[in-house]
Symmetry: C2
Subunit: 350 residues, 2 copies
DNA sequence: ATTAGCACTCTGAATAACAGAGTGCTAACA
DNA sequence: TGTTAGCACTCTGTTATTCAGAGTGCTAAT
């Protein structure tokens, strides 16, 4: 038996172990694997190979004389090398599509609905990294007085993402004044990356006519407030309940609490995921790879969505390490495609 | 010993039982109560009275020969008759105030911050029923094109609550057209209750000049979409984690899941709470009184906030029945007052 | 009316016994 | 040399048993 053959066999057995474990959630023994492989090999042989797998750090035993459980590295190999891509079933696709009524939907509600459906289909938690206007470029800026000293500020990005905030200004401001400030801002800043607006505007302050100096100063103050009000990033979470109900958490309140704490804080998870979106591919992170305390027992699958080349946000599923990677990945990618389509449509209409 | 005396004694003992139970979370025995009352009465006497209390349905035993636990009716009597009002300590008030930076704050963020602080102070979950523009009257309506067929619709209520939504319209619309539609809507509808806008506008359609009929029709369509997009009501939730970590849930995953399910659905809780806000007083609901499956082990304290006479929303704490009602009530009312103040200020500036 | 004393009850923790599942090793086999 | 049957061994999770502790209700004394 040559090297490749023996390697292939090891992989088959690892695959069987992983898949059995995904189903049963309890350590899998040699007998079960043997049956799963239609007795091509006896349980004794399987045991030998399992020893090798353990040696290689791909599986482990919770204790002597228990079955094997895949390690993070085991899952990793399974995902990278043993998992062929599958398409979403027609029915699942249908379900997903049914969740969208694009014409009467606020973008945020769209995300929420798709998130809910994805959570329900996968029976796991959904995370959505919302597109934020801060990663976009200025297309339009509007200012509307909605009270003596209150100003509604609207910032439209190039993908027609819109945010609006009500802020308080020091001086009462008239409709006309507001209009001219907005005009000034729009004409000065169109096309610039929103994250760098403040520095851009400050740079221009010096070049500007003396007659406009006051205008510029006031605009700057307003913009500053708006950008401070708008959060850097937003993470939507749906279906945490599914996650908590998984057997790995049912019995272990401490684990559950740690998990919930992380989900409530969000910060760490958000940063991590934004980072992942740097690459425009679906990514899978398993257990410790996530490198967040409290999520050791979890994996996530995250896919970016956007318009044309630009990645605007990401949608993913957070579940127990013991998740159905094949199906979940298909679901996540389906959802991401759906969102990309809607956003593209949205932009065309904008 | 006359009737009043014996009644007073019973109440004292009930109070001692409740307070001991709040501290220890385990059934309280006669000996402990006797000690709590500085041995004014022996444990044997306490036992007799406890028998009466049980007879009266105010306390119960988890099993023969365990201590007593207050029933819902026991808590109710305790809250209604034995609980004097207390003020917030200076320090707590300070903490609360520190959570607010009113000048640079979006209203929603304000609620969130106050909610977080309240959750942290009380070590329980906070619920906030957000003010919704739907319960207000029209002050101003604005329409701004933010794309060929996209319209930003701004609805300002009398308390200067603002909502804005982006909707898609069938026909491309110019800035001037949008302006005139908005003008038309504002002039027609100012002062009307927003919830009844559609009927009002429909009523007026008939009275309007033929020359304006098209204007009116288009406005109506837009308004319809906006009102459909804006949700009836919103419930903010903070600090569920605190709640889940309480001893009554720690050991009981099923209870925990039921609880989390209710909190995820929100619907039932929201309806119930909106109902409570009919009366402009702080309200306390205990266990079964809430009448929502999954919240039997919880109580909530809810206080309305608003501007002048008008109740705009409510803030409350949801915790285990075994909560410190005295302190929690003070905290909740403190938070509600704080919000009322900020909103009043907000309105004055608007 | 109150209380000391006591027999009784129930829980929760600790311990032991045990079936079940799975392993690693050895020796036989193809 | 790779595979397999067989077996002794190990570890877990469950069930049964015991036992101390806490608390009660009742009775009789104060």
């Amino acid at each position: 038996m040559n090297v490749t053959d023996s390697e292939r066999r090891r992989n088959n057995i690892l695959e069987a172990i992983v898949e059995a474990y995904l189903e049963t959630a309890s350590p899998v023994g040699s007998e079960l694997v043997s049956r799963k492989m239609r007795k091509q090999l006896s349980s004794a042989t399987i045991r030998n190979v399992m020893g090798e797998l353990e040696e290689a750090g791909l599986v482990e035993q919770p204790h002597t004389s228990a079955g094997r459980v895949p390690t993070d590295r085991g899952y990793r190999l399974y995902v990278d090398q043993l998992l062929e891509a599958v398409e979403l079933s027609a029915e699942e696709l249908q379900q997903m599509l049914a969740s969208v009524h694009p014409n009467e939907l606020e973008l945020k509600q769209l995300f929420q609905r798709v998130g809910e459906v994805l959570a329900e289909q996968s029976h796991q938690a959904t995370v959505i990294l919302e597109p934020t206007v801060k990663h976009s470029r200025v297309k339009q800026i509007e200012l509307l007085p909605v009270g003596v000293r209150k100003l509604l500020c609207v910032l439209v990005g190039q993908e027609t993402l819109v945010v609006s905030h009500v802020i308080e200004v020091e001086q009462p401001i008239s409709r006309e004044e507001a209009l001219s400030l907005a005009h000034f801002l729009t004409s000065e800043l169109t096309g610039l990356p929103i994250q760098e607006l403040l520095t851009s505007l400050e740079g221009r302050l010096s070049e500007v006519d003396a007659s406009l100096a006051d205008l510029a100063r006031r605009s700057l103050a307003i913009l500053q407030t708006v950008l401070a009000t708008e959060p850097e990033e937003r993470l939507l979470l749906e279906g945490t309940l599914y996650l908590v109900e998984q057997p790995e958490f049912r019995k272990n309140p401490n684990k559950t609490h740690q998990l919930l704490r992380q989900l409530e804080l969000r910060q760490a998870l958000m940063a991590k995921m934004r980072e992942e979106l740097g690459s425009p591919r679906t990514c899978v992170r398993i257990g410790r790879e996530i490198n967040i305390e409290g999520l050791e027992a979890c994996s996530y699958i995250l896919a970016p969505f956007g318009v044309r080349q630009a990645v605007l946000g990401g949608i993913g599923v957070l579940g127990p390490k013991r998740m159905d990677y094949r199906r979940t990945r298909a679901l996540v990618e389906g959802a991401a495609d759906l969102l990309s389509d809607v956003l593209t449509q949205w932009e065309l209409n904008g």
